[in-house]
């Protein structure tokens, strides 16, 4: 079996600083493999240990993105594929196009595993777009995965229910973080990861629609919750009346 795992070199949210205007300081921010991508790698490694085969980690990004491939290789992936771009911030459409190109070029694969979303922008759009571009079925938000020679059986986490789905191979799946507990690479595995092969692909080597990206990010702000700091005074019954009125005024309760 040949498994592809898509990983993103994402901003390390645990080290991200927010400036006084509420903007995340992305310049020079530390980056690492997306938090949930570790679940995707772990799942591929788990499947490989049962079914045999090969796990190939694929990323799209600048030179630094190789660090995330190294993380996947340290965890146990066999080799890496790096689509080198200098396009800066990619939108999901362009990312999925480049990933699909790399998968077509280095495949065929039996199963492509993505995470539910990247830990920085978390659009969750790349996996379904990727499946569409590859022309294969897509199962999203998988919390349990079973793979046989012919098919993949998945249990999906939906908001109020669980859904069981079976799909033929090849397919694209995206996994949620509950699916497993990612292993820690040992320090020796980290050191040895740089010796594993990484194939670099230039976007020019693929038939692409062009540099155009249909969406672009206009601004990015940290979430902030401003408090109104209203102190209600009076006897308990007066205060309750005032609180009720205030909540109605805010539209929290119907008036």
């Amino acid at each position: 079996m040949k498994f592809a795992v898509c990983v993103k070199h994402a901003v390390d949210e645990s080290e991200l600083r927010i400036d006084s205007e509420g903007k995340p300081q992305l310049d020079g921010a530390q980056a690492k493999m997306g938090t949930f991508d570790k679940n995707a790698v772990e799942e591929a490694l788990r499947l490989r240990s049962g079914l045999g085969g090969e796990v190939i980690a694929i990323t799209v990004g600048k030179t630094e993105a190789k660090k995330s491939l190294k993380e996947a290789l340290a965890m146990g992936a066999d080799r890496g594929v790096h689509v080198l771009t200098d396009l800066g911030v990619l939108d999901p459409s362009k990312t999925s196009e480049l990933l699909a190109g790399a998968i077509a070029k280095t495949g065929p694969y039996d199963l492509v595993i993505c995470s539910e979303g990247s830990s920085d922008t978390y659009t969750g759009l790349v996996p379904p777009m990727l499946a569409e571009r590859l022309g294969v079925p897509y199962i999203g938000y998988v919390r349990k995965l079973e793979v046989t020679e012919q098919s993949v059986k998945a249990e999906r986490s939906l908001e109020e229910s669980l859904e069981s789905i079976e799909s033929p191979l090849a397919s694209v799946v995206s996994v949620v973080s509950e699916i497993n507990e990612p292993r820690y690479p040992t320090l020796i595995q980290i050191m040895q990861a740089s010796k594993k092969p990484v194939e670099e692909i230039q976007p020019e080597q693929m038939a692409l629609a062009g540099p155009h990206m249909p969406t672009s990010v206009l601004s990015m702000m940290a979430q902030s919750s401003k408090r109104k700091r209203i102190i209600i005074e009076g006897t308990p019954s007066e205060a309750a009346e005032k609180l009720l009125a205030a909540l109605e005024k805010e539209g929290v309760l119907p008036s």
Binding site: S14, E15, Q30, K32, K67, K70, A74, Y184, P185, T186, L187, I188, I190, M191, S194
Partner: protein, 393 residues
């Protein structure tokens, strides 16, 4: 409270970059990964280790299996072949995650380094791979009830017979006692204090009850008694009579690591105090607005950074083959005394809520050991002064 996180911070990264311009990336990858492991697998358990509600053994084992002790050893002994500073920095992170495990690991690795430096080829081949990979744990047995800083007066004896050595005597304040698989024991032969490796279990070793300690409560410390303890002839490390010289050299390296450990303890106490100073209001404003609190913050941070630079300096001297004994002692004296001040100031910032909070005052209790253990501040000042006077002639 997500404080002092990530353990391997931007400050560490930048420092490594300046010290190792061409290789820092790899060191940072190793330390960042180790830091993440500690954040998840060790730090959350730390308050329970202190209160005796959970043993440190399983977490320590997972940490060693992850490869922390492989950092400074060459690959032929299962090591990563990285600079000593990277290992010292790892101990700093561990000091923040949990001081008791850091103490236990620091002793373990000091013994491994002793075997690496002074052991026979066979001892190295037999013992080092399992010590560096965490399959086995080591302990260092030098101090005796009547022999501390004056280690040359060890009374424990090792009598050579036709086939083996027979060890008799008592050691005290022994970290990892009862848990370790290998004990580096200093005992007197006719030629003077000598160094022997005793593998447990051995019917001739007995362990006292765990001592009730002020801090470092997760690590096991007790007496170790040898009664007609037979060990094979090839247990001797190096040559007879040179034991104290070996112990001294092992301790020089260990002092750098102890300094790093104290920087780790202090970093967490400081982070907690800094955070609290912004939350706690007095006279209508956060106490961080008051100048006397700010003085504490400034002194804490300055002390931590100065101690970190000093242990890195001693460590770089060690890596580069220079005499580092004075600098290692300076780093240890400065870092351990700084650590007590920082942890004390943290309690002061918290006020009554610090004095009554195990999670805060444990840092002071943990730090308190290390102006005593592995060379008291007093003896180390004598060492520094005599080394500096000799250098000046």
């Amino acid at each position: 409270m997500a404080l002092a996180l990530p353990l391997f911070s931007a400050e560490h990264r930048v420092l490594l970059k300046t010290l190792y311009p061409s290789t820092h990336d790899e060191y940072s990858e190793v330390l960042a990964s180790l830091g993440k492991f500690m954040e998840k697998e060790i730090m959350p358990h730390s308050p329970k280790f202190d209160l005796g509600q959970e043993p440190i053994g399983p977490s320590r084992k997972r940490l060693l299996e992850n490869g922390m002790c492989q950092i400074p050893f060459p690959s032929e002994y299962g090591g990563l072949g990285l600079p000593f500073s990277v290992y010292a920095n790892a101990v700093e992170l561990l000091g923040t995650a949990d001081a008791s495990i850091a103490l236990s690991v620091e002793i373990h690795n000091a013994v491994a380094e002793g075997i690496f430096k002074f052991g026979t080829t066979q001892q190295k081949a037999n013992l080092l791979p399992s010590l560096t990979s965490g399959k086995t744990l080591a302990s260092f047995a030098l101090t005796e009830p009547a022999s501390g800083s004056d280690a040359r007066t060890v009374r424990t004896t090792a009598k050579p017979t036709k086939d083996d050595y027979v060890i008799n005597g008592s050691k005290t304040f022994i970290t990892n006692a009862g848990e370790a698989d290998v004990y580096m024991v200093f005992a007197r032969t006719e030629k003077g204090p000598s160094c022997l490796l005793v593998e447990a279990p051995n019917p001739g070793i007995r362990f006292g009850a765990p001592m009730s300690k002020l801090g470092m409560r997760g690590s096991k410390t007790s007496e170790v008694t040898f009664e007609d303890c037979h060990v094979p002839k090839d247990s001797l490390v190096g040559v007879e009579g040179e034991g104290i010289d070996y112990a001294t050299q092992i301790l020089h390296g260990a002092r750098i690591v102890v300094a790093a450990l104290n920087v780790g303890i202090s970093s967490l106490a400081y982070a907690k105090a800094l955070d609290y100073s912004k939350q706690r209001n007095a006279f209508g404003k956060p106490i961080s607005e008051f100048q006397l609190t700010r003085e504490k913050i400034a002194d804490m941070k300055t002390g931590i950074n100065a101690a970190r630079l000093l242990y890195f300096y001693a460590s770089r001297l060690k890596e580069s083959g220079f005499d580092y004994s004075s600098e290692a002692a300076q780093a240890k004296v400065f870092a351990t005394e700084m650590s007590l001040k920082v942890c004390d100031a943290a309690i002061q910032v918290y006020g009554g809520y610090g004095y009554t909070n195990d999670e805060l005052h444990r840092h002071w209790r943990d730090a308190r050991l290390l102006t005593i253990g592995e060379g008291t501040s007093e003896v180390l000042r004598l060492l520094i002064a005599s080394r500096e006077l000799a250098r000046a002639t």
